[in-house]
Symmetry: C2
Subunit: 240 residues, 2 copies
DNA sequence: ACCTGAACACCGTTCAAGT
DNA sequence: ACCTGAACACCGTTCAAGT
């Protein structure tokens, strides 16, 4: 028997990208460095550069990986995509689009770092384009003009992919006596904000979800937009 | 005459933060390093740490600077905030909120790097809270319940501050024969997307704005949301 | 063709030392 | 109280060298 080295799985772009996703999932996007990534695949940092151009290329790659997960998840939604047997009033498009967007959101909930990375990419990944292509197809089948569909995509923005940039974030954790008191103390500086929060908390005192239920709020905003779009479609909206 | 050193403006947190904004404005957020920042204020990098805790503190600080600009811009909008002389149908709230949001958007257009930084902050800046407080006050004056106002803030998301995460970005630059041909070539992979884009381009062939007019699209999405909220308010929407 | 060691030019940050 | 020089532990990336 000749001297034999460990039968190592050869490096590949795919293996590098999947390892990158794993690192971000397990330790956050901050832990994703070229050296840490090399360690994960059992190689030296410099070996990575044979399979990816630079770190930016890794980030484009993980975006594509996540986007592919989204396309797959959306594709699994059993709603007819061609609209052939839809109700005559065209209302089915909304359910089809809504369920695909919520499926996309499910993917981002499993990769919490991913929304931030998507925001930094300058080129749009092919898988993201395929996902948007599917949404556009559903809206067209539902009776939308190309022009209104175009506006719709912009109106939805990142919400079409299942996430939003939340800048209005009441304190984490459950509603407690202490946090309520802390809010009340700011009443002179932010009278309307504190008024709103204390009433919202009062309405649902035994809430275990904390101040805001992210899922409900996402669906509220999504439905608001989809309902508005449906109304424009039904009214025969024209460009102006 | 005794030997005299140059009368240097003493360092201060404010001076550091304003210099940071200037660097990001002039050279992008990537150019904002502690060493570069020190150079800008005419000191050594380590001197900064007497005035800011760490780089994260600098980013919190510039967020506060930009947010203060937004509050100021919104405050300059001459719309009665207390609703005392508003139309009985309450429709004035929408104009007041809309104009403030567009004023906020104007600030982000002057600091293109800022939206990205806002997205990375974990704590909400006091100035952002003041801005939201103002919006909430306007909606309350317009007849919104606390509960619907709360949902409204979540529905608007970052759009309330004047920016959106655009993931659907058709090619930059003007619509040319070449770019149209490039789009047509992808028709087999993205049939709905290419169909939409070629028709949108065809409808406005001499557009100098390129594929999409960002300002119009922002206003379309904003109005869609505001109109939907106004409808819910008029219908006496209740939590469910 | 694939992988690596040594090295370069950067980072943010600590710490002891200066005035 | 305010500022600094030297140093540390990291980055991403290049390049010549190995198999």
């Amino acid at each position: 028997m000749p001297a034999q080295t460990e039968p190592r799985i050869p490096l590949s772009r795919d293996r590098v990208l999947l390892a990158a996703v794993k690192i971000a999932d397990d330790h956050g996007i901050g832990a994703l460095t070229m050296r840490r990534l090399a360690e994960e695949v059992g190689a030296e940092a410099m070996s990575l550069y044979y399979h990816v151009a630079k770190k930016d290329d890794v980030l484009d790659g993980v975006t594509e990986v996540i986007a592919t997960e989204i396309v797959d998840a959306a594709g699994r939604i059993a709603v007819p995509a061609d609209g052939s047997d839809w109700k005559a009033d065209g209302s089915d498009w909304k359910k089809a689009v809504r369920e695909r967007i919520l499926a996309a959101r499910g993917v981002f909930l499993q990769h919490k770092w991913a929304a931030g990375v998507f925001g930094t990419r300058t080129t749009t990944s092919p898988a993201v384009l395929r996902y948007y292509d599917g949404l556009i197809g559903l809206m067209r089948a539902g009776g939308f003009s190309h022009d209104l569909t175009h506006h719709a995509m912009h109106a939805l923005g990142s919400r079409a992919l299942g996430f939003t940039q939340e800048l209005f974030t009441p304190p984490d954790g459950p509603v407690t006596e202490e946090s309520l008191a802390a809010i009340a103390q700011m009443a002179d500086v932010y009278p309307h904000l504190t008024g709103m929060l204390s009433e919202v908390a009062h309405d649902d005192p035994e809430s275990t979800l904390g101040w805001c239920d992210d899922q409900s709020e996402f669906e509220f905003g999504l439905d608001l937009i989809l309902d508005g779009l449906d109304r424009l479609r039904a009214e025969g909206w024209q460009a102006h």
